[in-house]
Symmetry: C2
Subunit: 575 residues, 2 copies
């Protein structure tokens, strides 16, 4: 491919609307074009990158006995009514009607389609286990698309679905898939991706993991133990608080606290540490606006995903009605009106002598000791957010780091949520009807490309790993008007292509500055320069985009040496 | 791949709902699964076929300097408003709103997206010509999906868009693309596809061709000259009628024709040949229901696509209102009320002494001679349907055959319809602003797969050409309980796979009947049978799915011989 003919604009200036580097690079470098909110077209360089990523994913899915299939992008709503998700999923599921008025959805994930494809086929235990996958366009009507390809509305995803006759078999396969994911990310050039335990959210099921590229610009927070290596996303990381009970317990006493509303004001007023307070956070259920009040230790925040999972339904921060009986600014766990759901966070377990609201305007309590003052049998629930330097749920040291990351993949043990609701059964060895157990496994292709860019770039552009680079060699002919330069570069271009090397050839009559800044923006790992100066020595210059090496090679030896470098870089350390 | 693990059901019975063979085979053979009206999922065998077809298309598009890009499936309606198609296209364009109420469409074709991708980049003549293409899911809300993958609502399509600075350059590229299409169909196994001149319809532009697989089950009609090879679809084939003028012209006379309405009744009543009559067909414009009356020779039918193109707008068969002044059953070209659009078909040119309606209840005229009785300067237009044994517009013999075909691809010279409406310009050599000229080029991937199946099958199933077969070799181990069979087949399976041969291995403990009927349904071109009888002779049996050969080969020589057959079949006659 000649660079001169490559469709797409490259810009010098960083686009002002880009928050993160991969987004800026993809716009500046002619990789993507904005079409609509969270919707992009891809130019050839990105298309070549994503096709290589797709091929890596395909090979690794095939290696764990996956069968590539294809589900539709547009599905009848009735399929999603079978699983119950037509009702339970919010606006991100795009619903519409076709010309006949039939309800349709745009696929944002394909559990329903996977079950529909195999439920008649897989009617006997002998046909299990199996895994089917596709690489296909999806649409999720995100409220806030952002960061270029990191959070879009339309995206290409590999989604895989496995079917099993026992939990043990699912777990064994889940482990195989976990390893395949590690190989995929390593082959794509980001072996540093970590897997973290995660919350399954709307997917259902119990055990799940997210694969995270750690980066400050990531939109997810992750708890990682710097000591034992435990890792989990915030929803899945237990927030462990060790309270030491005071030797002397005060009595519960009402205190006049005029014009005091926030937990900080209360603690200031009473000269108490915020850890010696009990705060209230009020929510309302989405379905009927009834109240849910969470009580936690003053320094702990609510993790709303944990709360939603505990309640099994959606909630939102409350707007407290005048006639609710709730007394904003003075809410406490003792003496609340009837009919309000109360959740006591485990951060209050073992605490003593706390301040808390008295459910009466301008009054707080002091001397609140939950285990004494709450009704016998009160349960404590983990709905708090784990803190930096918090306690590791595995090794129990104060060794938790909160990092940020981009989720590049996920794997779920789904259980029977979809198979059961959609009436999928098989006959087991004893002739009994059973419901199969499922797993599902996703990787966003465009997001993975953007993540590699985020992990591998410098101030001038991306540094694509050889395995997914749009081309393997960037051939620069400087001073193309020089006859020997032209002849050498043209010959090299032909020879390399005949040898199966992917070459982007820049034979434009432009300055070295323009040539190199374009090469930086396209980010091909190996650069080959043919210039009048090199011609005098009968050499060409090979250099790495990441500046790790630069060497002069006699013209005749160049094709061989180039192939050697490519082969080496395509090989994984583990190979 | 072991057949035992292949997900998908195979059926003995032909599904009753299937009208054509490729549809029946794809359902029976476990290739597709119905999800909704015109929407299917694909199982692994079809996915492998379509991936191979896509790769053939990709190689041929790259070979004519195409750049693979990707446009979105979901686009903002505003993009289609720019070109005017948001308004002009009917219900087949699926329109909906997203969560913010913004109008969106599902891409059924991507001219607008192509212009949007390149209109800033291609602002100078030096950047022309270029071609961009994608292979992507499309959705067209067809009123009547039918025939399995032949006419679906969701489909995968290769669509390409070229941009030029002159008509000559477009025409030269159009010719290159025409040749690339011939290579694609030949490589996919249907070199018999013919290209026919076609009507551009809603795509705009002038010259276009459709690539047709001729088959009685096709939904398109095509006129082909059995003498000179001229071919065109019905809309693009001129209907030439040679009328011989009678020596003696009668006077135009009104005749009482009670209870006579149809053209046949009139001719019977008057004892005249239908060719000596002039009939009327009444339409209404979609936009305002005004009337358009077409007059043709009695034996010629209206081709509505020609009529629409002539009028430049949509029409529908009329419902004639009482107060319209039109006299159903007695409509004629002489004495019609004012304000009605009258189209005189060229089949009336040179005719004489015809019968026609008198625009008065129960009366017809005889002796109607258009050139005498119509106003001076009346124009004749070609809106009639070409007939079997009609006159070839090229060699002028009565040598037209009307055939049926499946359209497997199309190419269009679009002109400036999209570039102009969407404000795309470039600066030419003289510094003047110009509007680029476009071409577009489509192939439906699934429809191509179904067409190959339609062209290559027998009563037992498909006969896939080697280049697109789901696997290259179907290995049958008969009596797997025989130790030597098991050992030989297992070894052969491993050896072939190590040699890069794609093998589907049937080592199930089933009867020869089941094994062979499954092999027929999967349609792999080369079958290898390992059986106890063969083992006695130390041979395996190779045979072609199309029965063209069958041979016994010593076990040790089998891998080499198999690779030789595959290589030979992958090579095109032209190579």
């Amino acid at each position: 491919m000649k660079l001169e003919k490559l469709v797409g604009e490259r810009f010098k200036e960083r686009p002002s609307e880009c928050q993160i580097e991969s987004h800026a690079i993809m716009v500046k470098g002619g990789y993507i074009k904005y079409v609509g909110n969270g919707i992009y077209s891809s130019y050839m360089p990105l298309k070549r990158i994503t096709r290589k990523i797709e091929q890596i994913i395909r090979e690794e899915m095939d290696a764990i006995d996956g069968q590539e299939v294809q589900f539709p992008v547009v599905m009848p709503a009735s399929l999603w009514e079978e699983s119950g998700r037509y009702q339970s999923i919010g606006n991100e599921l795009l619903r519409f009607t076709d010309r006949t008025g039939t309800g349709m959805v745009l696929g944002m994930t394909h559990e329903e389609a996977a079950v529909q494809l195999v439920r008649e086929y897989a009617n006997t235990y002998a046909r299990y286990p199996f895994m089917i996958y596709q690489i296909q366009t999806k649409f999720r009507d995100e409220a806030r698309p952002r960061a270029g390809l990191i959070r879009v509305r339309e995206f290409t995803m590999k989604d895989a679905y496995s079917f099993h006759t026992s939990q043990e078999d699912l777990e064994a396969y889940y482990e195989r898939c976990h390893k395949a994911y590690e190989r995929i990310f390593a082959r794509a050039g980001i072996p540093e991706v970590v897997s973290v335990k995660s919350d399954s959210g709307m997917m259902g099921g119990s055990v799940s993991h997210e694969f995270m590229l750690l980066t400050p610009v990531g939109e997810d927070s992750i708890a990682i133990c710097r000591d034992c290596g435990f890792s989990a996303n915030m929803e899945a990381a237990e927030c462990i608080i060790e309270n030491e009970k005071d030797e002397k317990l005060s009595v519960l006493s009402k205190v006049y606290t005029p014009d005091i509303h926030t937990i900080e004001e209360v603690c200031d007023f009473l000269h108490m540490d915020v850890k010696k307070s009990c705060k209230a956070v009020v929510y309302q259920r989405n379905k009927d606006d009834t109240y849910v009040i969470v009580f936690l230790r003053g320094d702990i925040e609510v993790n709303e995903a944990k709360l939603r999972n505990l309640l099994g339904e959606e909630v939102h921060p409350a707007v407290i009605a005048e006639d609710s009986g709730i007394c904003p600014g003075y809410i406490g766990p003792v003496g609340l009106p009837e009919g309000i759901t109360v959740i006591i966070d485990s951060s209050l377990q073992g605490a003593s002598n706390l301040s808390c609201g008295a459910n009466e305007k301008e009054f707080h309590y002091t001397g609140f000791t939950p285990e004494r003052d709450l009704p016998a049998g009160t349960e404590y629930h983990d709905v708090g957010k784990i803190l930096q330097d918090g306690i590791c749920p595995v090794c129990h040291k104060h060794s938790i780091d909160i990092s940020r990351g981009i989720e590049v993949g996920n794997i779920f043990q789904l259980g029977t949520k979809y198979s059961r609701s959609m009436g999928m059964t098989y006959t087991d060895q004893n002739g009994e009807k059973q419901v199969p157990i499922m797993g599902c496994y996703g990787i966003g292709v465009g997001r993975l490309a953007a993540s590699v860019c985020e992990a591998h770039h410098d101030e001038y552009g991306p540094i694509w790993p050889m395995a997914i680079a749009p081309w393997q060699v960037h051939l620069c002919a400087m001073r193309i008007d020089n006859e020997k330069v032209r002849e050498t570069a043209d010959t090299l271009y032909d020879t390399l292509q005949q040898n199966g090397v992917e070459v982007l050839y820049d034979d434009r009559d432009v300055s070295a500055g323009v040539m190199f800044s374009d090469a930086d923006l396209i980010g091909i790992p190996l650069r080959v320069v043919v210039s009048p100066r090199n011609m005098k020595e009968d050499v060409v210059e090979l250099s790495a985009r990441d500046k790790s090496f630069s060497e002069k090679v006699p013209i005749a030896e160049a094709p061989g040496r180039i192939r050697e470098i490519i082969a080496k870089q395509l090989k994984l350390p583990a190979d």
